[in-house]
Symmetry: C2
Subunit: 246 residues, 2 copies
């Protein structure tokens, strides 16, 4: 944890917050912070800042908070992901938030098994703390927006326009020669939406639908990766390509 995130409603009118949960434990036991010490904090979907410890006992840690004027820039990358199996998805939440995505769009596909949609891994009470964990790791405050879509075609034909209308759209495809930098030669200030298929890949219909809706195929070499490894690899390569264009 490199930043302690606070919910906006946790701060009182004087900018004080009293913590008694895992964050208080972390401040006491890992940061070994004492009264007077200053630690890095941030408001979820808001500004980062500093918290001065004004009181601490076995139960409660109280911070006096000061926040910077502006929140950090929102990550420029969004992710469209064919829902992986629950065990894999559970491990991904924190890593996606740490890598930095504005939006996580989970979708059905032919090769996604239906029961995957009925697990508690997709319940906000499960994934929100995992996303927060990833943000605290990466020192970000922007909680990715999450949406879950059981109809791939409706998502691509109707919903994507609203969710990420002007974004550059890439779909990772094994065997495609065009690399990410090539596809992002002139991104301007547009966001980038990256699609990652299910284990076994998109079927021909799904791939055609993506292509007719502006998704440009990009490759990551000849190796077939597991869906979670592919997500992390692809997000890293896209972030690296965007950083190089600045």
């Amino acid at each position: 944890v490199n930043l302690i995130l606070l919910e906006p409603f946790e701060c009182d009118a004087e900018g004080r917050v009293s913590l008694s949960d895992a964050r208080a434990q972390h401040i006491r036991n890992v940061l070994r912070a004492v009264v007077g010490q200053v630690i890095r904090i941030g408001l979820i979907n808001g500004s980062p800042g500093e918290g001065t410890i004004v009181a601490a006992d076995d139960r409660v840690v109280t911070l006096a908070c000061r926040f910077e004027e502006a929140p950090p820039p929102r990550p420029r990358i969004d992710l469209l992901l064919a829902l992986p199996r629950p065990k894999v998805m559970r491990r991904l939440w924190a890593q996606l938030a740490a890598l930095g995505v504005g939006r996580i769009i989970l979708t059905n596909a032919e090769r996604v098994e239906r029961p995957y949609f009925d697990t508690h891994v997709l319940a906000p009470e499960t994934y929100r703390p995992l996303l927060v964990e990833g943000l605290q790791q990466a020192r970000d405050t922007h909680l990715p927006a999450v949406s879950i879509h059981r109809q791939f075609r409706v998502l691509v034909e109707d919903d994507l326009e609203t969710l990420c209308g002007s974004a550059r759209r890439l779909v990772a495809q094994p065997g495609v020669a065009r690399d990410v930098r090539d596809a992002l030669r002139d991104p301007g200030n547009r966001r980038v939406l990256v699609a990652i298929g299910p284990e076994g890949g998109w079927n021909a219909f799904e791939l055609r639908l993506l292509e007719t809706h502006g998704f440009c195929g990009v490759g990551m070499g000849p190796r077939t990766l597991r869906s979670d490894t592919a997500c992390i690899a692809m997000l890293a390569i896209v972030a690296d390509a965007l950083a190089a264009r600045r």
Copy 2:
């Protein structure tokens, strides 16, 4: 599984192999392969090829194997990793093999906890099947060489020369502006060795030792990643940079 890997000793003089383990189950239940069908196979540390199913019952699947002349090229990237905690390391093995590394060098560092070295996650009988799983996912045959080093200084000062003497050496460091492509502007045919530190980073001594032994600091932007996420991200970016130079 996109390739069934075989140990060289499993094939008899006529190039036949009889499987009765998880691979046989996979061929029967997932590939739903029947007699006469051809599946992708490979020899560990050898050539890929094709296996024709010549017999199959509830217990045993027998393949007639034909191998290509040459094995695929060995991955050009090696990894020097400060040993993460066992749970994280367990998850990494297959992903590292899938991403493609020639060598995995695990090391101690100040911020690595000693008990991490005494877990069965570092036993070949634990990690070898996980590496094979990653290779079968990525359709590779090159099993990464693994070595474990309890003395960081001895590793860097003495052993690295033997393990990867002529490799370009990079160390991922938060906050460094130079990016991977910049550092790999003229890699020629040399291998690339990537160092990833422990949670909390290398200490000042360790970083200086790496730098005086030819490691060039490279950044991946302002976000601090967990050690496993950083490994995957870094290996993906380096592979992407090397592919672009071809």
